[in-house]
């Protein structure tokens, strides 16, 4: 059945603003509003009044202190996705051979896995987010998953306002005799910055200073650590 969009549903606009119409009525009003600025203006005024009252009627309740940080953090990486060149070029420059990073795609996957999944994955993502949520007064930079990254690998560089920078990583346990090692790369010179032999959700406090324009990367290395990277990065991101 086609919808007659020419009839102005003025009588239904108050209930539409309230969300109190039945489905068929709501669909009609919605279709009409797509093309009728006059009714849209009417609706805007009903909504303005309604939400003015709702703001006064809202409960006295303090949101969790870290809610803002979690909301921002959840989307901060998306910005990086749109700025596709920030880390990839530098990470490639550091490596002995170029890595086909396809950074935007890798990061998009990373973000989907990290934050948009539902159910169990969502709870896991929340745990990861909680690990980063206490850094409202610092910077958080998403580390992009690279070509050889294990499934579901993710990480972020945290640069607190005070104290040492660190990376928060969620990675599978490294193979026997191996460890995850963090690197700070200035120009094309990587400096070993910390080793972790664990898996799951963990942090590495960086032993090398991180400055503007540096790249932080994570590689798989011998358990004792390496003087220079011996494998391609699995996570990388620029400051």
């Amino acid at each position: 059945m086609s919808i007659d969009r020419t009839r102005h549903p003025l009588e239904d606009l108050p209930a539409y603003a309230l969300g109190a119409l039945e489905e068929a009525e709501r669909a009609f009003v919605e279709a009409h509003l797509e093309t009728c600025d006059e009714c849209a203006r009417e609706l805007a005024q009903f909504e303005q009044a309604l939400y003015e009252a709702a703001a006064v009627g809202a409960a006295r309740a303090d949101p969790p202190r870290d809610l803002r940080a979690r909301i921002v953090l959840r989307h901060r990486g998306t910005r990086a996705r749109r700025e596709s060149d920030w880390g990839g070029a530098r990470a490639r420059a550091w490596l002995a051979r170029p890595v086909p990073l396809a950074l935007p795609l890798a990061l998009a996957v990373f973000l989907v896995v990290s934050f948009v999944a539902v159910g169990t994955a969502r709870r896991e993502a929340d745990a990861y987010a909680r690990a980063l949520a206490g850094v409202a007064d610092g910077r958080v930079v998403a580390l992009a998953a690279q070509k050889d990254a294990p499934p579901d690998a993710r990480g972020a560089l945290v640069i607190p306002r005070s104290g040492d920078p660190y990376v928060v990583l969620e990675l599978s346990s490294p193979p026997t005799g191996k460890a995850w090692e963090a690197w700070v790369i200035k120009g094309q010179h990587p400096t070993a910055a910390g080793v972790s032999g664990s898996g799951g959700l963990f942090t590495i406090v960086l032993s090398a200073p991180v400055g503007a324009g540096d790249v932080v990367a994570v590689t798989l290395e011998p358990a004792a650590g390496s003087r220079a990277p011996t494998s391609d990065p699995i996570l990388a991101g620029g400051t």
């Binding site: 303005q48 006064v56 009627g57 303090d62 949101p63």
Partner: protein
């Protein structure tokens, strides 16, 4: 401007939006949902929806706060219908009955004069109009559901909704 920045992928702008309206949004969700955990979860969902829909925001169709709160309310109703436990899917008539519940207002979200004006406007509505607006807004009930639950003819409920909303608009919207 703020929403444009969000649409442009600026996550810090989303934080700025939260700074301005996060408290009132959370307070509204807190009232609509069964507990702080649900309010927190839905707040995150709502701000994610803002992130995704920012490019479709049209300022001529409403203020940013109204747009955000509408997104929050829709997310809360969706949560109750899809994720809430059976007992949480519906708000009791009594709970939803006050459009503005006394003593529960967060004084930090609205300035005092504005709040007084809003309170006056709401209190001057006839009780039966105030009740249907409250049930629809906070309870998420449709006009048909309100009619059934209050044993009131549907036409009467519709009339009360129209009259109540029209009076609210007359008293609270300056640009008439």
């Amino acid at each position: 401007m703020l929403v444009e920045r969000i649409a442009g992928g600026d996550a810090e702008a989303l934080g700025d939006l939260y700074d301005r309206y996060g408290r009132v949004a959370f307070g509204m969700l807190y009232r609509m949902l069964p507990g702080p955990e649900a309010a927190e979860e839905v707040a995150q969902d709502a701000f994610h929806a803002v992130w995704r829909r920012a490019s479709s925001y049209r300022p001529e169709r409403g203020a940013v706060r109204t747009w955000l709160l509408a997104i929050c309310r829709n997310a809360a109703i969706d949560w109750r219908r899809t994720r809430g436990k059976r007992s949480e899917r519906e708000v009791s008539i009594d709970t939803a009955a006050d459009l503005i519940a006394d003593g529960r207002v967060d004084e930090r979200v609205v300035d005092a004069l504005r709040e007084e004006r809003v309170r006056k406007a709401v209190s001057e509505l006839p009780a039966e109009q105030r009740d249907v607006l409250s049930l629809a807004f906070w309870g998420g009930y449709s006009q048909t559901e309100i009619a059934a639950r209050t044993n009131t003819p549907l036409g009467t409920v519709k009339s009360r909704v129209r009259l109540g909303m029209t009076k609210l608009r007359e008293r609270l919207v300056d640009e008439r």
